[in-house]
């Protein structure tokens, strides 16, 4: 089992002929992801890599290919519209990789997507992977291996670092989800934790948060109340100065809120395992399974 994506995931790639979209569409195909369609306005009727049909609109792509998941690699100014087009076309899961989507665009998108009943992951995220079955996004497939640990993170390469260390230690993953580094995103820690709690194959969860906002504190409260499975957490940004955006749009300490210290305290209060360094995940997860 897994969360959000599995063998039944049929993917349409929005922006499939662009630089990033074509590169990662190829990687997804190589990994074995069922990529059934692509969308680039004006290139309908062509084929990607001589096999994946390209459509002008999401409505046509979904109607003709039966896609249930979309992944978005379009430039930031067009990302909000692409997400809403996907929701309107009726896919259940929308994964937006694009970084740099204006936050006010996202306030409209969140409302629209909710009304259409779709799940959005991202934006500004690496997507997700269920090792051995399906990858939607940009997480490198070869660093993952199937196994019992669920991974959820606000980061990209930090997630790869931890997943790679788990894999090398022989600890595989059910699903790895990157929820993204923006202040407003579609899926939060709690959504993923609740899904991992329900997934019978997930035995423990590794969670990587960072400074900014209160998503980790909310997650800690949820873990304390509702989770039976062990969760090990890490917070990046202990040395970050207040008021400065640390790369991710959402990674900023505002006034005195959103510090690493307050998040780590929330983890402690919830009785979670706390990784002081990324390398500690291996031992802490092993001890708890």
């Amino acid at each position: 089992m897994s969360i959000f994506i599995d063998n039944g995931t049929k993917v349409v790639v929005q922006g499939i002929t662009g630089r990033d979209g074509s590169f990662h569409a190829k990687q997804m195909l190589e990994y074995g992801t069922c990529v059934v369609a692509g969308v680039t306005p004006g290139k309908g009727g062509q084929r990607f890599e001589e096999r994946v049909p390209i459509f002008n609109t999401m409505a046509r792509a979904v109607a003709e290919s039966g896609a249930n998941t979309s992944v978005i690699y379009v430039p930031p100014a067009f990302a909000a519209d692409a997400i809403m087009e996907a929701a309107d076309a009726g896919v259940a899961l929308i994964v937006c990789i694009t970084e740099g989507v204006p936050v006010l665009d996202m306030t409209r998108v969140i409302r629209y997507v909710k009304e259409k009943g779709a799940r959005l992951i991202g934006p500004n995220c690496p997507g997700l992977i269920t090792p051995g079955k399906s990858k939607v996004g940009i997480i490198p497939g070869r660093i993952c291996t199937p196994g019992p640990v669920g991974v959820v993170s606000r980061s990209g390469t930090l997630t790869y670092e931890v997943v790679y260390q788990l894999t090398r230690a022989g600890i595989g993953q059910t699903t790895c989800v990157g929820i993204g580094g923006d202040p407003i995103n579609g899926t939060n820690f709690i959504d993923c934790l609740a899904a991992f709690e329900k997934d019978p194959d997930t035995k423990a969860v590794a969670m990587m948060g960072e400074i900014g906002g209160s998503d980790e504190q909310d997650a800690a409260a949820f873990i304390k109340e509702h989770m039976t499975k062990p969760v090990v957490g890490f917070i990046a940004g202990r040395t970050a100065p207040p008021g400065r955006r640390m790369g991710h749009a959402g990674a900023i300490i505002s006034g005195s809120a959103g510090t690493a210290a307050e998040k780590i305290q929330a983890f402690k209060d919830a009785g979670m395992g706390i990784a002081e360094r990324p390398a500690e995940f291996v031992e802490l997860i092993r001890e708890r399974m």
């Binding site: 930031p76 936050v103 006010l104 993170s153 390469t157 580094g181 202990r238 955006r245 790369g247």
Partner: protein
């Protein structure tokens, strides 16, 4: 991106919000000239990206043009929260009957723009929120409809009893929301919103923070950036397409990805060192970016060791290796460099580095410990 009060007031005026007149001066003589033009008492206000300007002595009343000149010469030389004051706003002093607070922020929890208004204005709103939360009204705006007229009236009635003032305030709320959306702000604030003895309602101060993600499609807003208010290294980094934040330590860090970059800084601290910076070279691995990153980091005289931490996913580690070789050939390093890379094309990267006299590590903890040791000139903790 922060903009100055006088720039925010220009945006307010464009949207019809009543704002007192005012002009910007960058010399004491200009301040004197503007003051004599208005006649009467003026306020001289430091234009700097920092809160608490009044407390720091950056806002002063001048009764005469000569006094405006003297005060401007004091304020123009000041540093407020370590930022140099290069301009002052000179504006006629207003008669104030009451002061209120009006702000809009993008709220992460409700995922909407949220109004916060309080009749306790002119002071720190975080303090009001902590001590007397019942003095603040919050209202989340539905992005599909915008601020509705009855909502604007509710906000107005929270501030005033007199319906004339309530209507004036409600109009300002609507105009402020329009301005907020039009410039793609993440924060817009009127602190204080004042009433005069004559019963007028006006915005005495203005603060707008523009969402950085808005700037790519809005060259008119990017033009408002004041680069003289930033560290030169940060300006250079932004121009090179790098995300960089200068810190006070001595271990220069070059990392791909924001989360890993923060985790690397934290690990430097964990092993007893101090990071000199946050630097994310991003996902795509253009050797040019590595060259620019090294230029910026080596320009900092505090840096005693350089640490590369690259996890090759999309980033090809051989591109990073080539960037390091190119950069150090044209500009030989004066401080030691520790390179940790793993992932895509790792074997090729290691070959390139070794052929050019560098060595590479694969483990993050070992690399950070070594860098700290070299920077502190002793054994790592």
């Amino acid at each position: 991106m922060n903009i100055h009060e006088y720039q925010a007031k220009d945006i307010f005026r464009r949207h019809g919000i009543p704002v007192p007149p005012g002009e910007v001066a960058s010399t004491p003589e200009e301040a004197e000239q503007i003051a004599s033009q208005y006649g009467g008492t003026v306020v001289v206000k430091a234009q700097v990206h920092a809160g608490g300007r009044g407390k720091a002595g950056g806002v002063k009343l001048a009764k005469t043009p000569a006094e405006a000149k003297t005060l401007a010469s004091q304020i123009l030389g000041m540093r407020i929260k370590d930022l140099p004051v290069q301009r002052v706003l000179v504006t006629p002093a207003a008669d104030i009957a009451t002061e209120a607070y009006v702000g809009i922020v993008v709220d992460r929890a409700s995922k909407r723009a949220v109004f916060m208004v309080s009749p306790a204005g002119g002071i720190d709103i975080e303090e009001v929120a902590a001590k007397t939360p019942d003095k603040i009204m919050r209202l989340a705006v539905d992005p599909a409809f915008g601020l509705l007229p009855f909502e604007a009236m509710q906000l107005g009635f929270f501030l005033y009893d007199d319906v004339k003032k309530v209507r004036a305030a409600a109009r300002i709320m609507e105009q402020l929301y329009e301005a907020f959306v039009e410039v793609g702000a993440s924060l817009a604030e009127i602190n204080p919103l004042v009433t005069t003895p004559a019963g007028d309602v006006l915005a005495l101060d203005a603060k707008i923070v523009i969402d950085d993600n808005e700037l790519a499609r809005r060259p008119d807003l990017s033009a408002l950036r004041d680069e003289s208010a930033e560290a030169p290294s940060e300006v250079a980094a932004r121009r090179a397409g790098l995300t960089f934040v200068k810190l006070d330590g001595n271990v220069g860090c070059v990392v791909n990805g924001a989360g890993l970059a923060m985790a690397t800084m934290d690990l430097v601290k964990y092993y007893g060192g101090e990071p000199a910076n946050f630097l994310d070279i991003g996902g795509s691995s253009n050797p040019e970016k590595v060259v620019n990153a090294l230029k910026i980091i080596t320009a900092d005289p505090n840096v005693k060791a350089i640490l590369f931490n690259i996890f090759g996913g999309i980033t090809r580690t051989d591109d990073v290796a080539n960037g390091i070789v190119t950069a150090t050939k044209s500009n030989p390093l004066k401080v030691p460099i520790i390179i940790r890379l793993t992932g895509t094309n790792e074997e090729i990267a290691v070959q390139i580095l070794e052929k050019n006299g560098f060595s590479a590590m694969t483990d993050m903890d070992t690399a950070v410990q070594k860098a700290v040791e070299l920077a502190t000139g002793g054994k790592a903790a």
